[in-house]
Amino acid sequence: MDMQLTADEVAFRKEVRSFIRSALPTQIRDKVAAGGYGSRDEMIEWTRILHAKGWSVPHWPVQWGGTGWSPMQLAIFDDEIQLANAPQPLAFGVNMLGPVLYTFGNEAQKARFLPRIANLDDWWCQGFSEPGAGSDLASLKTSARLEGNAYIVNGQKTWTTLAQYAEWIFCLVRTDPESLQPGRKKQEGISFLLIDMKTKGITVRPIQTIDGGVEVNEVFFDDVRVPVENLVGQENRGWDYAKFLLGNERNGIARTGATKEKLRRIRQLAQNGYEGGPPRAHDRRFMEKLTAAEIELRALEITQWRVLARVAKNPKGKPDPASSILKIKGSQMQQCATELLLEMAGPYAMVRKSSASDAHNQPPVGPEWAAVTAPQYFNYRKVSIYGGSNEIQRNIIAKAILGF
């Protein structure tokens, strides 16, 4: 038993840290540190910096641009990305589609798409959720019917993150309409399609979220023609690939590095009062809450290492059900950090900057960091909903671990 990193791992962390911190453009770092996101162009810029270093898709097979790092190294890399306030590489291509393609795609698909994902030449989005199918994903209805050498896709996807930026979307579609009949398994009529967003018949409608942003969209398909070569794997086997993808999604979902960085920032901001008022650090109750959060984060971080150590011993195994702990507690800790920031802002959390032009013309109201506290707090409510809600995760623990 040993909770220390090896000397090699320490050296690796140092190398990664030093590269990321020197290579990350300052304006991107400051944006992320303040709770924002990189713009489309900034995401591309940063991904290409990583790609040039060979680090844009580190967990992929070396053949397709991966690094051959150990699970621990990959975890350190993730952690350092988060600690540096660097944007995480765009998950839809890098973490979701990429592994599906190199595992189940044909050679032509791999050659065509993987390099473009690694360089963020194609911005991918994910077409899984539908208005009637949230946690019950397999009840999806978007249909794809084969006509000659193309599928004709009709239906609607929703909660499609950053679809407004996307060149491509990977979709679950129903290729066997009979599979929804009683007595059939609805999972058995689903296929996995790659769809060019420029295809005729696709409409994207932005959904404004309660943080005031536009992160998600509805995507409508009206007789959209998708060449048959864009089918991944076999027809009606898409559910298998989706499960594989969703299993991968739980890796790194705890985002302990990002939360650690947020708590650090809170402690630092708490040192200064605003306009002559007392610093928050004088408020013992607040500092105890912050300390309690630090303790819980530490507990989560070690738990993550423990799960990782198990996974590292059996890297090809099924997703560890204990990763549901990471999802639940990780989302709670991410939310906890936004709650502390909100509390720290006090009444200044109420202020809304309605547009960038306001921000240019007017001095900030309240401490500069306070303006984003409420939007962040609202935005982060999503993390206990998406990727399998925390209720679903508890079901997983009850069934897969506790044997109910």
């Binding site: 959720s129 009637g132 199918a133 949230g134 946690s135 019950d136 009840s139 929703t158 909660w159 959904i207 404004q208 979220t209 309660i210 005031g212 998600v216 605003y274 306009e275 002559g276 008022g277 408020d283 109750r285 607040f286 909100l342 509390e343 802002a345 006090g346 009444p347 200044y348 959390a349 109420m350 202020v351 809304r352 900057k353 309605s354 306001d358 007017q362 001095p363 109201v365 309240g366 409420a374 939007p375 707090y377 609202f378 409510r381 999503k382 206990s384 909903i385 998406y386 809600s389 925390n390 209720e391 508890r394």
Partner: protein, 381 residues
């Protein structure tokens, strides 16, 4: 002990609810929020017509002469409909201060206009160094001719952007944190030297930063021009009691919305409300709502308690309970709704945002808990 409305109060409640049902649906509210000022003058006029704006104005000045129960009835309805019009600053805070402490001239000038909806007022008392301490006042008032001139900065003035006049706390004597020497003054919003920076709040409300440079002002009333802190604190307590009741209206509506959604939304072939875990979450929300309602009633019934300490204790205690319940209901409603609860296209998120802002307004639950813990037992005899 009796928690029923009188027949007249029930009638008033029905009137307000009918009115809001007709004029303040989700889309109508959206349209109001989209107007340049962030709310609708037309609706404000209609609110005046049915007696809402003058609800708390004494009958002698043409108002309805309503008391704490009438205020409770109105605020619960307004909270339930998420009304963004400037009811609180104009019809509650400033109407109360003027009716209770204003000179006859000021009362005669403004109260009838509050009743008919033509006056918009705001209360400017917060300062940046300590927005939650009304006794921490750096803004100064110096006698000048018949009146005063004010200098200083005020922050987070609710609806200060559209107000025609502001009631401003300013120091006439003493040091920045002395409880004595704080006066209340009436300032014309167009007066020279007054600047305001308008902005929206997270819950579709409006506010402004106000800076005052040699701004001419009148004493609000003779007594409160010299020592207005107790009047100001009573008014803030009244405001806190009002947003507590408003929060209960919002929580009740949000809870009903959530329960309906759980019954309607299907997953895995069943309404998600068939899952016991979600039923119990809804039950816990209901418990929180009912306890919050009890405290909101208690807060409002305490607004005319003559002992200022007891009054503040009761209202601050309610603010703690409502703050916690509001956050809990907002977060749980969002979680139970899933994705749809994250969007602006559905009502639950708007309730969540309003409840979050009510907690932040005039000090959140932890702030008041910390203060109450320094003040001895809350237990009644």
């Amino acid at each position: 002990m009796n928690f029923d409305l009188s027949e007249d109060q029930q009638l008033l409640k029905d009137t307000f609810e009918r009115f809001l049902k007709q004029t303040y649906g989700f889309e109508q509210r959206k349209a109001a929020c989209a107007k340049p000022e962030g709310w609708s003058h037309d609706i404000w006029r209609e609110m005046a017509e049915i007696g809402l704006t003058g609800l708390l104005v004494p009958e002698a000045h043409g108002g309805f002469g309503g008391g704490k129960v009438e205020a409770m009835v109105a605020l619960e309805a307004l909270g339930s409909a998420l009304v963004v019009e400037p009811f609180l600053p104009t019809a509650v805070l400033c109407a109360h201060l003027i009716a209770k402490h204003g000179t006859t001239a000021i009362a005669e000038e403004y109260l009838p206009k509050i009743v008919d909806g033509s006056a918009l007022l705001a209360l400017a008392h917060m300062e940046r160094q300590a927005p939650l301490d009304p006794a921490n006042v750096a803004t100064t008032a110096k006698p000048s001719g018949d009146g005063y001139v004010l200098n200083g900065e005020k922050t987070l003035v609710l609806h200060g952007d559209s107000a025609q006049a502001l009631i401003v706390s300013a120091r006439v004597a003493g040091n920045q944190t002395d409880r004595a020497g704080i006066g209340l003054f009436l300032v014309d919003a167009k007066a020279s030297g007054l600047k305001r920076q308008a902005y929206a709040t997270q819950d579709n409300g409006r506010a402004a930063e106000i800076s005052l440079y040699d701004v001419p002002a009148r004493a609000l009333g003779e007594a409160v021009a010299k020592d207005g802190l107790l009047a100001l604190e009573a008014t803030i307590d009244l405001g806190m009691a009002c947003i507590c009741v408003e929060a209960v209206g919002a929580m009740a509506a949000l809870h009903a919305l959530t329960v309906d959604y759980l019954k309607m939304r299907k997953q895995f072939g069943l309404p998600i409300g068939a899952f016991q875990v979600l039923q119990h979450r809804a039950a816990d929300m209901y418990i929180a709502l009912e306890l919050a309602r009890s405290m909101a009633i208690s807060a409002m019934m305490s607004t005319d308690e003559p002992d200022a300490h007891k009054r503040h204790q009761a209202i601050a205690a309610a603010k703690v309970q409502i703050g916690r319940a509001g956050m809990m209901l907002g977060e749980e409603a969002t979680q139970l709704h899933g994705g749809i609860g994250m969007t602006m296209e559905y009502a639950s998120g708007h309730y969540f945002k309003r409840l979050t802002m009510i907690d932040a307004q005039w000090g959140d639950a932890d702030h008041h808990l910390g203060q109450l813990a320094r003040q001895g037992s809350l237990l009644s005899d």
